[in-house]
Symmetry: none
Subunit: 360 residues, 2 copies
Amino acid sequence: MREKLPVNQILQGECVEIMRTLPDECIDLIFADPPYNLQLGGDLHRPDNSKVSAVDAEWDQIGDHDDYDLFSCAWMEEARRILKPNGAIWVMGAYHNIFRLGTFLQDMGFWIMNDVIWRKTNPMPNFKGTRFTNAHETLIWAAKTKDAKPTFNYAAMKALNDGVQMRSDWVLPICSGGERIKASDGKKAHPTQKPEALLHRVLLATSDPGDIILDPFFGTGTTGAAAKRLGRKYIGIERETDYVQVATERLEAIRPAADQSLAVTRSKRAEPRIPFGNLVERGMVKPGDMLYDSKGKRTARVRADGSIISGRVEGSIHKVGAEIQNAPSCNGWTFWHVRKKGGLMPIDTLRAEIRAAMEA
Amino acid sequence: MREKLPVNQILQGECVEIMRTLPDECIDLIFADPPYNLQLGGDLHRPDNSKVSAVDAEWDQIGDHDDYDLFSCAWMEEARRILKPNGAIWVMGAYHNIFRLGTFLQDMGFWIMNDVIWRKTNPMPNFKGTRFTNAHETLIWAAKTKDAKPTFNYAAMKALNDGVQMRSDWVLPICSGGERIKASDGKKAHPTQKPEALLHRVLLATSDPGDIILDPFFGTGTTGAAAKRLGRKYIGIERETDYVQVATERLEAIRPAADQSLAVTRSKRAEPRIPFGNLVERGMVKPGDMLYDSKGKRTARVRADGSIISGRVEGSIHKVGAEIQNAPSCNGWTFWHVRKKGGLMPIDTLRAEIRAAMEA
DNA sequence: GGAGGATCTGAATCCGACA
DNA sequence: TTGTCGGATTCAGATCCTC
């Protein structure tokens, strides 16, 4: 006998308690974007002195590693119980928390299918120049058990990716502009709203129409929105009254796609930019090598970081080319050459080799 | 007294045992790409039983204590011991092992600076069509402690990336073609040889010339190759005789880049500090001269001691600039200008003249 | 209306030398 | 160790504003 599930609803409360009210093995897919437990220091200002709005919500303050581990294991154990035998889970995070989440998944017997990288086209920069731009987040897709056969719509993913296999790195912009939900005061309703395109791809890849999707950290309901559009059923769990309110209104306004093939969005495939430094890293040009202009008169020396130096002028291939010509600008790719078998070859030829290899 | 380290050598043996022979706090940077295709009871045995039980006691909260976790904690503890206080570690892996490695790093007190994604331009496709193409691997860059100040050549990374911040996702091809080392039978000498371009970027970003780089899973010596080219010292540890042999020959053939080419773009923080008072002392700015913001609206008057005064606000060029803008901070060198031939010139230009004179 | 410039913002573990 | 203070630090994209 089948109990009646609260589908297409938002259940308000602590996710572990709410999940306990659900029967065993009733959910097809879980998508979870839990608090990251960021441990931020003081205020952070941009170089223009404006202040960065921190993720300082009370719900993200879990505590130290031990507290976070207890919290994580509690909800993940319940999640595992309510998953169908061939069900699967997606868990999302950043370096602060994703390693712990992945370890717990493995320890509980989940079987990782892929880790997927969300490469952000427009991440927030590192304002103080202390680290690499934190330009991605990680998602883990795991089956309930090693032997489970979770849904994977391989052909749909291939179609979505212009006919080649979908890779484990997804290039998508962050949620901003009109998609970003504003509160009545005009400020963002939720500090970490995810783009619907991300959930679209997750649900299209690993669920079927009619499936029941649970999101235990529902927030403003992005998972529900994508589910409703794609003809899936959702169950949302959210603790904060404000978010429940926003998500309810949001979902009310969404109409499922009449023809679901129309709902397939295409990802932008950005032409890869090749920095000159790549030629150095790849050994096509070596630190200390000389570059020449087309007549072999002017020279510059390559450094290990891809900058070049000519006399007292140093900088990028473009900047140095411009300065030694006393020109406003210069395309270093065509200006500079390497000596090759007696002749001179523009470095643009080397760049073309890299691009050709990337295409193949 | 300083012990003599076995630099630019390959030490053959189990990495934990070899690391034990090294003194505390002697290594600047560790790069570790540990094996992960391990079977329980397989070819990777515990370093020694006494050590394992100690680790066992210390890490009993982790969960499943299979041999892989014990092995990982054992080598990472040794790695931590021999790292200098401001040292750092890179650990590399895929979803099979990287989550465990990241968790252990955090639990041991390492402080994650970034996780970095190596996005492969030419990954192996997924033949069965049951998952996404596994097109990336993950690297974790972590400092020894939360308060450590590991080396990060921010400006060099920016130069290497054509003038924009280096991001946490690195697009590089897998190691193939001529770079891939073949054994005498024509087959690849090592199953997971890493591209030298990857190590080039790692070492350029987080070490300086002369630093000592340890790789406890040396394999065919890619870390050593990049280190030698870039003027770093390396210590390689490798268990398999065949790999030691291949790596030895490989490293012998490599010629380092000339010293002058190892210089990379320096950050401004590393420039010599010039007090504003120097400009006054040298007569480039005179007591009583007026300073202006870029629009000529706000003004301040220079005093003989290099302080400035604007209305009732007085102090350094930075402090006054910040206060009259009501900003948390201000770079007075770029904020303030002097009148020159009808136009306004930032006082930073005058500072640059002094620095150029100091260089000459 | 449109072009172009100014402004704003996004899951952020974000300074360092010297007294 | 702690406090002070000099001064270094940002990319893409959406929206708003001006001409």
